[in-house]
C-alpha cells in the first residue's frame, strides 16, 4: 500500500433517544410486532403532515455541543427525493443546506498518539422502514419509519481503518455520555456509511471514492475498510480506475460488492420542506443547554485520578463506559474506598459481566450490595476468601452482604482464645508438618494455616493464625 495514501470519511447515523418519532406521535420502541407503531404520518398517507419533535431537536443540539460544533442559529428541513420501498413518501425529510450543527471534532487516540478528527456537520432526519427479504418477495415493516436519526458527517480526515475504528469508539462514548442515544449496535441504533478513496503519494486532489453503506458493527467498518483499501490498490496497480459507486459489505465473505440498485440517478432534488417551519434557536437557549452538558469521559477520567486518587489505568477503564463509570460511582456512595471499589469492579464485576454477557445495568449485584460487601471486607469483618464467596451468593441468590454473612455465620473469627484452640488441634494432628516447619520449610506453614482454616470453616483471621502458629512452634 506504500505508494497510495488512503482517505476515509464516515457518515454515522444515530437513533436519538426519544419516546416518539421525529414527525409523529408513534412510539420508537424496538422489537415490537411489525407495523404496530405506525400512523398516517409515518406511513406517508395522503393528507398527513409532519410536526417536529422538540426533544429530537434538543438532543441533536446537545450532541453538537458535546462534539464542539457551532450551533446554526437558523436551521431548516428539506425534502430529499428518491424512490425506495422502505421510504413511505419517496422523499426523506432531512436537512440539506442549513443543518443544526456545523464543524466540531472528535478526539481519538491510536497507538498512543492523540489527534482530532474534524466534523463537517450534524443534521437531523427521519429513519426509513425495515425491509425483510424472503425467497420470492420482500415485506416492509414501517415501525422504524420516522424514528429520529441524527447524521454525523466527518471530514475526510482519517487515513487508516484503525483511525476509523477509534473514531467510532470515541464518538459512541461521547454520545452515550451525552445521553442522546444508547448507540446500541445490535438494534441498529448506530449505523455507518464509509467513504474511502486512494490516491498516489504526492497527488494533492483526492482519488475517486467508493461508499460502503450500512455497516452496523465497528469491526465491520474496520474489516470493510481493510478489504476496500486492498481492492482499490489492486485496481489502481493494475492500471484500472475506481468507479464512484455504492458498495455493500458482506461480513460472511469478507468482501464488498457493488450495489447496482443504488447506482441510478443521484439527483435528489432537494428543496425546502414546505410543511415544516424554520428552526431558530435563540442563543440563550443554546447557552442554557450548554451549561447543563453532562461530564465528558475525558473529564471523568481526570477526576477519578485527581479527586479519587485512582491509578490512570483504573480511571481509564472505569470512565470508558458510561454505565460502568456510573456503577462505580454509585457504589462509592455506599463505601468511600475508591481503590477497593475499583478493584472489585474491574475484576469480579467486569469478569462476571463478560462471562454472562450482561450489560452492567442488568447486573444482579447492585451498587448498594457491593458497597456493603466491600465495607465488610475492608474492615476485616470477613476475610477476602469469604468476600468472594459472599459475592458469589449475592450473584446467584441476591440479598445484602451483611444479611448473608450473618445468616451463614461467615464473619471472620479474631478471638485469640478460639483460634488458639484450633491451632493446637492442627499442631496435634500434623506432627510431620510441624517438624518440617521447625526445620525451615515455609511450605509447611502454609499447609498448617490451611488446616486451621479448614478446621475453622474458613472463618479464622489468617494473619492471626500465622502469627500464633509461629509462636507456638517456636519459629515466630
Amino acid at each position: 500500500m506504500g505508494e497510495y495514501l488512503t482517505t476515509i470519511g464516515l457518515e454515522v447515523h444515530v437513533q436519538l433517544k426519544t419516546c416518539s418519532k421525529m414527525f409523529c406521535a408513534c412510539s420508537t420502541d424496538f422489537g415490537v410486532d411489525p407495523n404496530t407503531q405506525v400512523c398516517p404520518v409515518c406511513l406517508g398517507y395522503p393528507g398527513s403532515m409532519p410536526v417536529m419533535n422538540r426533544e429530537a431537536i434538543r438532543l441533536t443540539v446537545i450532541s453538537g455541543l458535546m462534539l464542539g460544533c457551532r450551533i446554526n442559529p437558523q436551521s431548516k428541513f428539506d425534502r430529499k427525493s428518491y424512490f425506495y420501498p422502505d421510504m413511505p413518501k419517496n422523499y426523506q425529510i432531512t436537512q440539506y443546506d442549513q443543518p443544526l450543527c456545523l464543524g466540531g471534532g472528535v478526539e481519538i487516540e491510536v497507538e498512543g498518539v492523540s489527534r482530532t478528527v474534524g466534523l463537517t456537520r450534524i443534521h437531523l432526519e427521519e429513519d426509513v422502514a425495515k425491509n425483510n427479504h424472503f425467497a420470492t418477495w420482500s415485506g416492509i415493516d414501517f415501525n422504524r419509519a420516522g424514528v429520529p436519526l441524527m447524521e454525523i458527517v466527518s471530514e475526510p480526515d482519517m487515513e487508516t481503518p484503525a483511525e476509523a475504528f477509534a473514531y467510532l469508539q470515541a464518538l459512541r462514548q461521547l454520545l452515550v455520555y451525552a445521553g442522546v442515544s444508547d448507540c446500541n449496535l445490535e438494534e441498529g441504533k448506530m449505523r455507518c456509511d464509509v467513504n474511502v478513496s486512494l490516491r498516489p503519494r504526492g497527488q494533492v486532489e483526492l482519488g475517486t471514492k467508493a461508499e460502503i453503506k450500512n455497516l452496523n458493527t465497528f469491526k465491520g467498518v474496520f474489516n470493510a475498510l481493510e478489504f476496500e483499501i486492498h481492492r482499490q490498490a489492486d485496481v489502481l496497480q493494475g492500471g484500472g480506475r475506481i468507479v464512484q459507486e455504492t458498495r455493500r459489505w458482506d461480513a460472511d465473505t469478507g468482501q464488498t460488492y457493488s450495489m447496482r440498485s443504488k447506482e441510478d440517478a443521484h439527483d435528489y432534488r432537494y428543496f425546502p420542506e414546505p410543511d415544516l417551519m424554520p428552526v431558530v434557536l435563540p442563543p440563550e437557549v443554546v447557552k442554557e443547554w450548554e451549561s447543563a452538558l453532562p461530564e465528558r469521559p475525558r473529564q471523568r477520567r481526570e477526576r477519578f485520578v485527581n479527586d479519587l486518587g485512582l491509578p490512570e489505568y483504573d480511571a481509564g477503564v472505569l470512565a470508558a463506559d458510561k454505565d460502568v463509570g456510573d456503577y462505580f460511582e454509585d457504589t462509592l456512595r455506599y463505601v468511600k474506598r475508591p481503590k477497593a471499589v475499583s478493584n472489585w469492579v474491574m475484576t469480579d464485576v467486569l469478569r462476571t459481566l463478560s462471562e454472562q454477557n450482561l450489560p452492567i445495568t442488568a447486573f444482579p449485584v447492585k451498587p448498594e450490595a457491593l458497597g456493603e460487601l466491600i465495607e465488610l471486607a475492608e474492615t476485616k469483618v470477613i476475610n477476602s476468601n469469604t468476600a468472594k464467596q459472599v459475592f458469589g451468593i449475592m450473584l446467584a441468590e441476591g440479598g445484602g452482604a451483611k444479611a448473608i454473612v450473618a445468616a451463614r455465620g461467615l464473619a471472620q473469627v479474631s478471638d485469640t482464645g478460639l483460634i488458639e484452640k484450633v491451632v493446637d488441634q492442627a499442631i496435634a494432628e500434623n506432627p510431620k508438618s510441624v517438624e518440617d516447619f521447625r526445620l525451615g520449610k515455609d511450605a509447611a506453614l502454609k499447609h498448617l494455616i490451611g488446616q486451621v482454616m479448614r478446621l475453622s470453616k474458613g472463618k479464622a483471621n489468617p494473619q492471626m493464625v500465622g502469627e500464633l502458629l509461629g509462636k507456638k512452634i517456636g519459629r515466630g
Partner: protein, 493 residues
C-alpha cells in the same frame, strides 16, 4: 315552502331551529335532487345516502335534546381530496382506488364537531390539477348553466353541487384558484382563506405552500359560517397560523362606508372577455354606490405570476405525489417483478395526463442544474409578488378583480393546450402565491347566460374585510339568487 335543498345553510338552520323542518328531510331533499340532476351533471363521485340519513337523524335527535351547534344537521358535500374517516378518498385518480381514509382531516373533524352531515364526495380534477374538472379519472362534471360547458376546476364537483342545489354547501380546495374559478363559472360563492387560516391536515397535498381548504356556498353569510367552524390553529399542521379567529358573521355589513377598494391597473388592460369586463365595471359601480371609495393600485408582477405558480406548484407536487407508488395503499399495477417496475407501471397506469405533465415539470425544475434557474428564481419572484400585494394593501382594504378572464368554455375546448389553460389562472394564482385571501361572488351573466364572478382579494388574515365587501355587494344585487334550470324557479326568498 321552498324545496329544502335550495336553502342556504343559515336559512336551513333557522328553519330547523323553528322546528319547521328536520335535517333528515333536508338530506332527503338533497338526495332527491342528486337523483334528478346528477346523472347529467355528475358532480358527485360517491353519495353516502344511508350514512348521511343516519347522521341527519342523530342531528335531529340532538336538536330535540337542546343541542344547537352551529352547523347541526346541515348537509355538506366534500371534495374528494379531503380525508374523511372510513370513506374512500380518490382525489379523482385511479391511483387511489381502494384507499379508505383511516382518519378525519382537521377541517372535517371541526365540521363534524359543529354538527355537519357529510352527504357525499364531489368530483374534481385529478389531485386538484386543472381548471375544468375534465381531468378526473371518473368522468367530467358538467356546468349546470350549459351542460356542454365545463364547471371550472379543480373543485368543479363542489361548485356544481352547490349551484344545482345538490348540496346546501360544499368544501373545495384552492391552490391556484380551484375554489374561486369554479364558483365563478357556476354562479356560487367561493372563499379561499389566507394561507394558514384553515388547517391543511388531511387535505391530500398538491402544492403544500399554496393549498387551502375553503367553503363553496350559496351566499357570503354561509361562507362566513363554514369558515368560522373550520378556521384556527391546528397543532397537526405546522403551517397553520396561531392567530385568533374573529367572529366572521359580525363583519357582515350592508354598506361599504369607509372602505377603500383597490383596482389593479394591470388587471384591466385588455385580454378580458368583454362581457366579463362589463360585469366587473358594473360591480365596481355598485360598490361605489354602497359607499366604497376606489383607488388604483399596481401589481406589476402579475404577468409573471403564472410562470412562478406553475414552477412552484409543480415542484411541490412532484414530491407530494411521489408517495403514490402502489406499495402501501391504492392501486397497484399487476405483474411487476421488481419494485422499480412496480413504481413505473403503477404510476403510468394510475395517473392521468395532466398529473403526469406536472410531475415531470416539477421534477425537471428541481433537478440538478435547473434548480437555480427555475425553482429558486420562482421563489424569489414569489417574494416580489407578495411584496407587491403588501404595497397595494397599504392603499386599500381589499382589491376588486376578475376571477377568470373568460366565462366557462366548452368541454374539450382547451384540453389539448395546457399552456392556454394555465394562462386562464392569471387573476387567481397571485393570491395563493402571496398567501392572502380571496372571495368569488356572482356578479352577473354573459350574453350567453353564463355566470361571471367578482373576486375580492384581502390581505393575509383579512377575511373579515372581503366577507364584508362580498356580503354588502350581494345584498345589493340578486345575482347569487339565480339558479340554473328548472330548480331555479323554486328558489326565492
Amino acid at each position: 315552502m321552498n324545496a329544502l335543498n335550495t336553502l342556504t345553510a343559515h336559512d336551513l338552520l333557522a328553519r330547523m331551529q323553528q322546528g319547521e323542518c328536520t335535517s333528515e328531510s333536508a338530506v332527503r331533499a338533497i338526495l332527491d335532487a342528486i337523483g334528478r340532476v346528477d346523472p347529467v351533471l355528475h358532480s358527485y363521485l360517491t353519495v353516502n345516502a344511508e350514512a348521511s340519513l343516519t347522521q341527519a337523524r342523530e342531528a335531529d335527535a340532538a336538536r330535540r335534546g337542546g343541542d344547537d351547534r352551529p352547523l347541526l344537521g346541515v348537509p355538506i358535500a366534500v371534495k374528494d381530496v379531503l380525508n374523511v374517516r372510513g370513506q374512500p378518498c380518490t382525489c379523482a385518480s385511479k391511483i387511489l382506488k381502494g384507499y379508505v381514509a383511516p382518519y378525519d382531516a382537521t377541517a372535517i373533524a371541526r365540521l363534524r364537531a359543529a354538527g355537519a352531515v357529510f352527504v357525499g364526495r364531489t368530483n374534481m380534477d385529478e389531485f386538484a390539477m386543472g381548471s375544468t374538472t375534465e381531468n378526473s379519472a371518473y368522468g367530467v362534471t358538467r356546468n349546470p348553466w350549459a351542460t356542454d360547458h365545463v364547471p371550472g376546476g379543480s373543485s368543479g364537483g363542489s361548485a356544481v353541487a352547490v349551484a344545482a342545489d345538490e348540496a346546501i354547501a360544499a368544501l373545495g380546495t384552492d391552490t391556484g384558484g380551484s375554489i374561486r374559478q369554479p364558483a365563478a363559472f357556476c354562479g356560487c360563492v367561493g372563499l379561499k382563506p389566507s394561507y394558514g387560516r384553515v388547517s391543511r391536515y388531511g387535505l391530500t397535498a398538491y402544492a403544500s405552500s399554496l393549498d387551502q381548504i375553503g367553503p363553496m356556498t350559496k351566499d357570503v353569510r354561509d361562507a362566513a359560517l363554514l369558515l368560522q367552524a373550520m378556521a384556527g390553529y391546528d397543532p397537526l399542521d405546522s403551517s397553520s397560523l396561531p392567530a385568533p379567529v374573529p367572529d366572521f358573521a359580525a363583519a357582515l355589513k350592508t354598506d361599504l362606508k369607509g372602505v377603500t377598494l383597490g383596482l389593479p391597473r394591470e388587471y384591466f388592460v385588455g385580454g378580458l372577455d368583454p362581457d366579463v369586463e362589463r360585469r366587473l365595471q358594473e360591480a365596481v359601480a355598485v360598490c361605489r354606490q354602497l359607499g366604497a371609495t376606489t383607488v388604483e393600485v399596481s401589481l406589476p408582477r402579475t404577468r409573471q405570476a403564472i410562470a412562478t405558480y406553475y414552477i412552484i406548484a409543480a415542484a411541490e407536487a412532484s414530491a407530494n405525489l411521489a408517495r403514490f407508488d402502489g406499495v402501501r395503499y391504492g392501486f397497484r399495477a399487476a405483474g411487476s417483478e421488481d419494485p422499480l417496475s412496480l413504481y413505473k407501471r403503477t404510476r403510468a397506469q394510475g395517473f392521468g395526463d395532466e398529473v403526469k405533465r406536472r410531475i415531470i415539470l416539477g421534477t425537471y425544475v428541481l433537478s440538478s442544474g435547473y434548480y437555480d434557474a427555475f425553482y429558486l428564481r420562482a421563489q424569489k419572484v414569489r417574494a416580489l409578488i407578495r411584496n407587491d400585494f403588501g404595497a397595494a394593501f397599504e392603499k386599500c382594504d381589499a382589491i376588486l378583480a376578475p376571477v377568470s378572464p373568460t366565462p366557462a368554455y366548452r368541454i374539450g375546448e382547451k384540453s389539448a393546450d395546457p399552456l392556454q389553460m394555465y394562462l386562464g389562472d392569471i387573476f387567481t394564482v397571485p393570491v395563493n402565491l402571496a398567501g392572502i385571501c380571496g372571495l368569488s361572488v356572482p356578479c352577473g351573466f354573459t350574453a350567453a347566460n353564463l355566470p361571471v364572478g367578482l373576486q375580492i382579494v384581502g390581505p393575509a388574515l383579512g377575511e373579515e374585510a372581503i366577507l364584508r365587501v362580498g356580503h354588502a355587494y350581494e345584498n345589493a344585487t340578486e345575482w347569487h339568487r339565480r339558479r340554473p334550470g328548472s330548480e331555479s324557479s323554486a328558489r326565492q326568498e
